[in-house]
């Protein structure tokens, strides 16, 4: 046994020498576990104190303190002592010309808590979730599923012009939201309505935005699914990809300046990481030491572009170190893993004033949007496989049910209630009158300037002169 350990240690050290990128080995330290299992669900106010934060610190952060070794000084211990002085600090040198390989022999492993059958993997390291929170999380994930289904159908029926589902990504949506405090400012991309749902946006409010009616907070100015709520700290969604990343660095900067106990949380997909703004946003957040949590939903597809055509790196997690950002890869379909990771990341961001990168692995079960038919570029059985066997909602449900916190009856009641509420919301939103003409010209500036007043007057006159040319219900 001892020999085996000794050999394995050598194996590990030589593995590390041969590994050309530092791997974050998640070591399990049993001494910490008793603290984790006995700690109870803490309200967010208590959670934010540094004392509690240290209790909940996970091993992945302890590992980070190990010196990361790039392979260059494989056999020259003495040479490592000789250093050169360059801008940026001292750097050891070697006379051996060796290129860092483009990829590591082993991909960065993925943190997960629940197995595919919804059972907690033994010897695990996670933030426990008690019944009330777990049930709420499950309910919201199921509600999100129903919402996506019904709004998608509404679009197909021609009642709304566009919709974008989050099917397959419910765990990321809800579990990340559950792990944040309401003061944390969220800058979404567009596949995160679950975060808004968690924070209290009602089904009616979702419907109003999709119909662009008078009750829409966006005042009918944006496409469906471009929700926004300053009250719930959820920035209005803007279509261009990745523009929210540098803005998140700015939000982090603002929170840092005002020394607030909050962080910025921003989402991006795998495709969005190709945008220049991804590089810019991460680099800035790192240099500024801004409290930002970057969550990348690696769902395998950017419309029809598979990730193999999007980048050649080992996903997104390896890019974190390139910017000096702590990062983790997480099973995005595992609600408990996402919850733990986001919770820890948030804590690190706020107490240590640094950005953190989370890559959540998942699969985009639905089409990119209602303007897309993904069967054109991917196999129907691939979609089916992820939909049925790797479904994050079912997986979490099994765990919740196994704990005796959820039943079949609860399930059917929840789904039928959600469905009914949504149908009613859609019917009401559809009938609600649309924005008047004045909203075309408001909010371009804080005060309407002369030229816009003139344009408004001109349009008004035109409409009043020929009302039959305009749809019924179109009013000034």
């Amino acid at each position: 046994m001892a020999i085996w350990f000794a050999r394995s240690r050598n194996l590990v050290s030589s593995l590390r020498h041969n590994l050309c990128t530092s791997t974050i080995l998640i070591k399990r330290d049993y001494s910490h576990r008793p603290v984790l299992t006995t700690s109870h669900q803490l309200p967010s106010t208590v959670f934010s104190s540094p004392f509690v934060a240290s209790l909940l610190r996970h091993e992945s952060t302890a590992v980070e303190k190990q010196p990361d070794e790039l392979v260059l000084h494989s056999d020259d211990q003495e040479e490592a002592l000789q250093e050169l002085d360059f801008p940026g600090g001292k750097v050891g040198y070697t006379s051996e010309m060796k290129f860092i390989p483009e990829s590591s022999s082993r991909r960065v492993p993925c943190y997960r808590v629940l197995d595919e059958d919804g059972r907690i993997i033994p010897d695990n390291d996670f933030v426990p979730v008690k019944e009330k929170l777990a049930v709420r999380m499950y309910e919201q994930m199921a509600t999100l599923q129903v919402m996506d289904h019904i709004f998608y159908e509404a679009q197909r029926q021609g009642r709304i012009s566009f919709y974008l589902t989050s099917v397959g990504e419910e765990a990321i949506n809800i579990a990340s939201a559950a792990a944040l405090s309401p003061d944390d400012i969220v800058l979404p991309q567009y596949r995160e309505p679950g975060v808004l749902l968690w924070r209290g946006f009602t089904l009616e409010e979702f419907a109003n935005q999709c119909f662009g009616n008078k009750a829409d907070y966006g005042k009918g100015r944006q496409m469906p699914i471009h929700y926004g709520s300053n009250r719930l700290n959820y920035f209005t969604i803007s279509s261009p990809i990745a523009t929210q990343l540098p803005q998140a660095a700015g939000v982090g900067y603002s929170l840092k300046m005002e020394k607030k106990n909050a962080c910025a949380v921003t989402f991006i997909g795998d495709g969005g990481t190709s945008e220049g703004d991804f590089h810019a946003g991460l680099n800035f957040a790192a240099v500024m030491e801004a409290p930002v949590v970057f969550i990348c939903r690696n769902n395998g597809w950017a419309i029809s572009t598979h990730i193999s055509e999007q980048f050649r790196s080992d996903g997104i997690v390896v890019k974190g170190q390139a910017y000096g950002i702590r990062s983790i890869r997480v099973d995005g379909n595992d609600a408990l893993a996402v919850y733990s990771a986001v919770r820890s990341a948030r804590e690190m961001a706020v107490t240590e004033q640094r950005p953190v990168l989370i890559e959540a692995m998942t699969y985009r079960v639905g089409h990119h949007s209602t303007s897309d038919d993904s069967t054109k570029y991917r196999a129907a059985d691939e979609i089916q496989y992820w939909k049925m066997s790797r479904n994050p909602v079912n997986r979490f449900r099994k765990w919740v049910e196994d704990n005796g916190w959820w039943s079949e009856e609860d399930e059917s009641k929840l789904r039928s209630n959600a469905r009914k509420q949504l149908l009613q919301a859609i019917q009401a939103a559809e009938k609600w009158e649309k924005q008047p003409l004045t909203e075309l010209f408001n909010d371009v500036y804080d005060v309407k300037p002369k030229n816009l007043e003139e344009q408004e007057l001109g349009l008004k006159e035109l409409v009043e002169k020929q009302p039959q040319e305009y749809p019924p219900g179109f009013h000034v």
């Binding site: 907070y217 926004g228 300053n230 803005q247 700015g250």
Partner: protein
């Protein structure tokens, strides 16, 4: 589709400005009403030293509440023209810095971000000394990515700060176009008014001294179409400080265009707190025969031409339009109604520049008052060459302006 009304007609009915009849404004520096003459030294802007110009400029309202309507400010100028006999002399970049510093003292939410703005003090020294006074976080040195720090400024503004974003050269802000157009200009509107973006984006632009095409961009042409933003151009230390302060206090995103060659202009400005109205044009030299509309550096070429024109017996009215978006059609309209001839002198390219838009606006609104077609002198549609002689020929020169006026006034 929608017709722009003859808006000037509606506006003038409200205007107290009518009472200040321009017939009374005969000689430029002797007016007792709403103008005050100033002398200042133009240092090195035309490569010639020690040229002095007499110029007059309006004093804007001095009190804090910002009134966006250009009309209202004129009413106060008579009262305030007795102010500040004393003053202090400084260069334009110092005036910008003074304005910025005063606003940062006044409001802790104001911050600065850009490349080399911190301890280096900015490439044109506009932020000199600010990092020492306000700290490294409030005067932030950013990595080189214009789209990123513009986006960062927008995000910070949406959470309550008032960033002043500096582009090292306006041309580099082309890299920030996405953030400026799709987010800065739009998010207030698309969020239904839930989020405001009170940023100021500023930097030097225009044709300098042999800086090459990429460093001689006139971004006002490209940005003028973006809904939701305001654009102003400063040209004197007085209006530079005033516009900087007004821009920072504005709730809308404002782009402040400075000019590379005007930073060393010297002028004496008032000691007390003042701002310049963002939507207002500046009457530089009242006149009778022709309205010359210009802004930024071209103002000085126009004034130089004006000297020659006066010697030849012409009486040009020179207006520095200052507000590039929206145009101050009120001041411009009144002038057109008086002189019936318009010459626009700009540094933008012929196609799609500020002059092109201004020509269209004047034709639409004041067509009946024109005795001659609106003439616009602009740079040619070529990238700005490096060679000194070539560069000089792409910029409108005083001699051209004189010829154009003579032509229009035949």
């Amino acid at each position: 589709m929608s017709a722009i009304l003859q808006g000037a007609g509606a506006a003038t009915a409200l205007s107290p400005f009518n009472s200040i009849d321009s017939n009374k404004l005969v000689a430029p520096s002797r007016s007792s009403l709403s103008v005050r003459s100033k002398r200042y030294i133009v240092a090195g802007s035309d490569g010639t030293n020690n040229k002095t110009f007499a110029s007059s400029s309006l004093i804007a309202r001095r009190s804090d509440p910002l009134i966006p309507n250009a009309v209202a400010t004129k009413a106060d100028t008579a009262a305030s023209s007795t102010s500040s006999k004393s003053g202090h002399e400084l260069l334009l970049f110092e005036a910008l810095q003074e304005g910025l510093e005063e606003e940062m003292d006044r409001d802790p939410h104001v911050c600065v971000m850009g490349e080399d703005v911190g301890h280096y003090g900015g490439s044109y020294k506009v932020t000199k000394g600010l990092a020492d006074k306000f700290g490294d976080l409030r005067v932030l040195d950013t990595p080189i990515c214009e789209n990123a720090f513009t986006g960062m400024g927008i995000g910070a503004a949406m959470t309550g700060l008032r960033p002043v974003i500096e582009g090292m050269n306006m041309g580099f802000l082309l890299l920030a176009f996405n953030q400026i157009s799709n987010n800065c200009g739009m998010l207030h509107y698309t969020s239904g008014g839930q989020f405001t973006i009170p940023v100021v984006i500023r930097g030097p632009g225009g044709v300098g001294r042999q800086l090459g095409a990429e460093h001689s961009q006139r971004l006002e042409s490209y940005f003028q179409s973006i809904p939701g933003i305001q654009m102003v151009a400063c040209s004197t230390p007085y209006n530079a400080k005033g516009l900087m302060k007004a821009a920072i206090r504005s709730e809308n995103p404002v782009i402040l265009f400075e000019h590379v060659l005007l930073y060393n202009l010297k002028e004496s400005i008032p000691d007390e707190d003042y701002i310049c109205n963002l939507e207002e044009a500046e009457m530089v030299r009242p006149g009778e025969h022709i309205t010359i509309l210009t802004y930024s550096r071209m103002r000085y070429h126009v004034m130089q031409a004006a000297k020659t024109l006066v010697n030849k017996g012409y009486d040009p009215e020179v207006i520095d339009i200052r507000s590039l978006k929206p145009f101050d059609l009120h001041t411009i309209g009144n002038s057109v109604k008086k002189t019936h001839r318009v010459l626009i002198v700009e540094e933008c390219m012929r196609t799609g520049g500020i002059g092109a838009s201004l020509t269209a606006a004047i034709n639409e609104n004041f067509h009946d008052y024109l005795d001659a077609p609106v003439m616009c002198l602009s740079s040619q549609d070529v990238p700005t060459p490096y060679a000194g002689t070539l560069e000089e020929w792409t910029v409108v020169q005083p001699a051209q302006i004189v010829t154009a006026v003579e032509q229009l006034c035949q």
